[in-house]
C-alpha cells in the first residue's frame, strides 16, 4: 500500500502554476542584457529551428519535473507491506531427489523430470513460508545437502544447483531414505515428512530401502514416494558432469513400481505414480493436505521509503535541463 508520511508538502507543487501565472501577468520578468537588436515594435526573438523549439520545451519540462520530484520526495512516499512472522518449529520436510542420469528424460511437459520436480517443489515451498525444508540427493550414493531449514532462499538455491549425475550413475534409494530419516529423528516437537522423488529402482547402496523404510513409522515420520516419469521410449539429453560428454537420444524407461509401493508400505507411507504434469501436481496437493502449513504467529508491517528514486530523478531532470539550455541552446543568462 502506497502512502505519504508528510502529505502537506504536496502543496508546494502549487508554486509551479503560481510561477507561470506571475510571469504571464508581468509581475516577474527574466533578466536580460540591455541591448536592442530589433526594430521598435518588431517581432521578438524566437527560435526558428524546430529542434531548438523542442529543446526549449524539453528544458522547461525537465525543470518542472525536477521540482515536482523534489516535492514528492519531500512528502515522504512510503510503500507498506505486511509480512507474516512465524514462531515455533513448524513442520519439517526433506525432499529426497534422485539425480541419476535417467532423471534427464524429457517425458513430462517437454522438460526433464528433475526440472519438473524442481518447479513443483518451488511452488510448494512458496506456499509454506513457515515450514522447514531440507534436501537429500541420491545417485550411486546419497548426501544431505541442506538440513531442514526455514531459510528457503538457501534451500531453493541448492535445489536449483542440483546437477544430474553429480552423485554418480546409480540409484541408492535405501541410502537416500536413511540419510533423510537420520536428520529428522531428533525432532520431536513438530510434524516431519520425507518425500522421495525417483524414477528408478534401487540398484546400489549399503542399505536396503525396506530396512530404511522401517525407521519412518518407528519415529513418527511420514513417508511419501512419487514415481516420476512414463514407461517406454522417452527422449533424453544429459551431460555427464565427470567427462563433460553430451548424451542425446532415447531411453527405454522402466521402473519397478511394485518395489516403490512396497517401500511405501513398509514405511507406512503413500506411493503416487506421477507420469504427467497433472499427476505430479496432485502429488504435491495431497502432500499439502497431509501436512498442514504452519500458521503465522502475527504479521508485521514493513515500510519501504520511496523518496530516494525521486531525489535521483530530480537530479537527472535538473542536469538534463542545464545541459540542454547551456550546452545545446547556448543560453548564457
Amino acid at each position: 500500500m502506497l502512502s505519504l508520511s508528510r502529505p502537506a508538502f504536496l502543496l508546494l507543487a502549487l508554486l509551479v502554476p503560481l510561477f507561470f501565472y506571475l510571469r504571464k501577468r508581468g509581475f516577474l520578468r527574466q533578466s536580460e542584457f540591455p541591448l536592442t537588436l530589433a526594430d521598435w515594435n518588431g517581432l521578438p526573438f524566437r527560435w526558428s529551428s524546430p529542434v531548438m523549439r523542442t529543446a526549449a520545451i524539453v528544458s522547461r519540462l525537465a525543470v518542472v519535473g525536477g521540482f515536482l520530484c523534489v516535492v514528492i520526495a519531500l512528502s515522504g512516499p512510503v510503500l507498506y507491506r505486511q509480512e507474516q512472522i512465524f514462531s515455533g518449529s513448524g513442520s519439517a520436510m526433506i525432499f529426497v531427489i534422485d539425480i541419476s542420469p535417467s532423471m534427464a528424460a524429457k517425458d513430462i511437459g517437454n522438460v526433464s523430470r528433475l526440472d519438473q520436480a524442481r518447479k513443483y517443489i518451488h511452488e510448494f515451498a512458496d506456499r509454506r513460508p513457515g515450514d522447514s525444508f531440507g534436501l537429500v540427493s541420491l545417485g550411486s550414493d546419497a548426501a544431505l545437502l541442506v538440513p531442514p531449514t526455514t531459510d528457503h532462499r538457501v534451500f531453493l538455491s541448492r535445489l536449483d544447483s542440483l546437477t544430474i549425475g553429480e552423485m554418480g550413475d546409480g540409484t541408492a534409494l535405501g541410502m537416500g531414505l536413511a540419510v533423510a530419516a537420520a536428520h529428522l529423528v531428533q525432532r520431536h516437537d513438530a510434524r516431519e515428512c520425507v518425500m522421495l522423488l525417483t524414477d528408478g529402482e534401487n540398484n546400489t547402496g549399503e542399505i536396503n530401502p525396506n530396512t530404511a523404510a522401517d525407521i519412518f513409522p518407528e519415529n513418527g515420520i511420514m513417508l511419501f514416494i512419487a514415481g516420476i516419469g512414463t514407461r517406454g521410449e522417452v527422449p533424453i539429453e544429459y551431460t555427464d558432469p565427470a567427462t563433460g560428454k553430451l548424451y542425446s537420444g532415447f531411453l527405454e524407461s522402466e521402473y519397478n513400481e511394485a518395489a516403490l509401493k512396497e517401500i511405501a508400505l513398509r514405511g507406512k507411507g503413500l506411493y503416487f505414480p506421477a507420469g504427467s504434469k497433472d499427476s505430479l501436481e496432485s502429488v504435491f496437493d495431497k502432500l499439502g493436505q497431509s501436512l498442514p502449513a504452519s500458521r503465522s504467529s502475527w504479521t508485521r508491517s514493513i515500510e519501504r521509503p520511496l523518496d530516494n528514486p525521486f531525489i535521483i530523478a530530480s537530479l537527472f531532470f535538473v542536469a538534463l535541463s542545464w545541459c540542454i539550455r547551456r550546452l545545446i541552446m547556448g543560453a548564457v543568462l
Binding site: L28, Q30, L74, T149, T150, D307
Partner: protein
C-alpha cells in the same frame, strides 16, 4: 563520511557545480565583451546590477544542486529505538578457520578448541535453531538455521582451514554473511557466536559491530588463544619460512562487542565458566514467551536537505533570473 551518508559516493555529483560555474563565467565574460561596445551609455548602468544578480542567482542554484546531491546520498545521524516482538531464539556460529587458528597455544589447537566449544554449546541449545558460517579470507554459510543439530555436530567435527581456499581472516565479512542467515520472517531473537582469535587481515570489526547494533543482533565473541601467542609460518609454500607471532586480539573483539550493544558479550573461551556465561546470555531468549526488545535505527535527515534545496531554488528563481517589474 560513511557514518553520515548511506551512499557517500553520490556526493561526488555535487562537484558538478565547479565546471558548470566555469562554463557560465567564461560565456558571460565573452558575451559582455562582445556586446558592451554596442550598449548605449544609458544602459551601461544596468549592466552592473545584472552581473550581481546573475552571481547571486548562480550561487543559489549551485547551493540547491549541492543540497540535492547531499539528499540523494541519504544523510543520517542519530538513532531512534524501534520495538521488536520476539519469541524463541536463533543462533549462528561464526567460526574463524584461518591459519592463525591452527596454532596450539591452547590445547589441542585454537581450531580444535573452538570445535569442541561450539559442539558443547550446540548440545545445550536444544530448542534453538542454529546455523554455521565459516570465515577465512571469505565467508560462507555452511549450514542455514536448522533444528538438525546432528548436521552441526558433523560439521564441527570436521573443521579445518582447508575448507575455504581464500587466505586471510575477514571477520567483518563473516558477520555480514551471518546477518543474512537470519530469515526476516522469523520471530526468534538473533545471536551470533563468534569463535575467533580476533586477528583480522581485511575489513573492519568496528563497522561490523555497528551493523549488528543497527540490525538488533546480539554478538557473543569467544576469544580463543592467549595474549602471549605462538609462532606461525605465515607462508608455508615459500622455501624460507616467514615466522610471525599470532596472539589473541581480545581488544578488537571487545570493541566490536561494545559497539554491537543488545546484551552483547565477550568471554575468553579458556576461562572456567565462560560457556555458562554464554548460555546464560542466550537461554533467557530461548523460551516460548513473547517479549519486546528494542533495536536502534538510524534517523534519516534527507528531508532537511530537500527543503533547503527547494528554498535555494526558489530564491535563485526570484532573486536572479526573475526580477520585480518596475511599473
Amino acid at each position: 563520511m560513511t557514518a553520515f551518508f548511506e551512499h557517500p559516493s553520490i556526493l561526488f555529483l555535487a562537484l558538478a557545480v565547479v565546471p558548470a560555474a566555469l562554463i557560465f563565467y567564461l560565456r558571460f565574460r565573452k558575451l559582455r565583451s562582445t556586446l558592451m561596445p554596442l550598449v548605449s551609455r544609458a544602459d551601461t548602468a544596468a549592466i552592473k546590477p545584472l552581473s550581481r544578480i546573475l552571481r547571486i542567482r548562480s550561487a543559489f542554484f549551485a547551493l540547491s544542486w549541492i543540497l540535492l546531491a547531499c539528499a540523494a546520498a541519504i544523510p543520517r545521524w542519530g538513532n531512534e529505538l524501534v520495538a521488536i516482538r520476539q519469541e524463541g531464539s536463533s543462533v549462528v556460529f561464526l567460526v574463524d578457520i584461518s591459519r592463525s587458528m591452527t596454532v596450539s597455544d591452547v590445547a589441542p589447537s585454537r581450531l580444535g578448541f573452538a570445535s569442541g566449544y561450539a559442539l558443547m554449546l550446540a548440545d545445550r541449545l536444544e530448542n534453538t535453531r542454529c546455523g554455521v558460517v565459516l570465515v577465512k579470507g571469505n565467508a560462507v554459510l555452511s549450514i542455514p538455521l536448522t533444528s538438525d543439530h546432528r548436521a552441526l555436530a558433523d560439521l564441527f567435527s570436521a573443521l579445518s582451514p582447508a575448507m575455504l581456499s581464500a587466505p586471510g581472516s575477514a571477520l567483518s565479512r563473516g558477520i555480514s554473511v551471518a546477518l543474512e542467515a537470519f530469515p526476516s520472517n522469523s520471530s526468534a531473537s538473533r545471536t551470533i557466536i563468534l569463535l575467533s582469535d580476533g586477528e583480522e587481515t581485511s575489513g573492519s570489526l568496528d563497522e561490523a559491530g555497528r551493523d549488528l547494533r543497527d540490525a538488533g543482533v546480539q554478538l557473543i565473541a569467544v576469544g580463543i588463544g592467549t595474549r602471549e601467542g605462538k609462532d606461525l609460518n605465515a607462508f608455508p609454500s615459500l622455501d624460507e619460512p616467514r615466522i610471525v607471532t599470532t596472539v589473541l586480539r581480545d581488544d578488537l573483539l571487545k570493541k566490536a562487542v561494545r559497539l554491537a550493544l543488545h546484551g552483547s558479550l565477550y568471554v575468553n573461551g579458556t576461562e572456567a565458566g565462560s560457556a555458562q556465561r554464554v548460555l546464560s546470555a542466550i537461554l533467557p531468549a530461548a523460551g516460548t514467551e513473547q517479549k519486546l526488545v528494542y533495536s536502534s535505527k538510524p534517523v534519516y535527515r534527507y528531508s532537511f536537505f530537500l527543503f533547503a534545496a527547494l528554498f535555494c531554488f526558489c530564491c535563485g528563481s526570484l532573486a536572479g533570473g526573475i526580477a520585480w517589474k518596475k511599473k
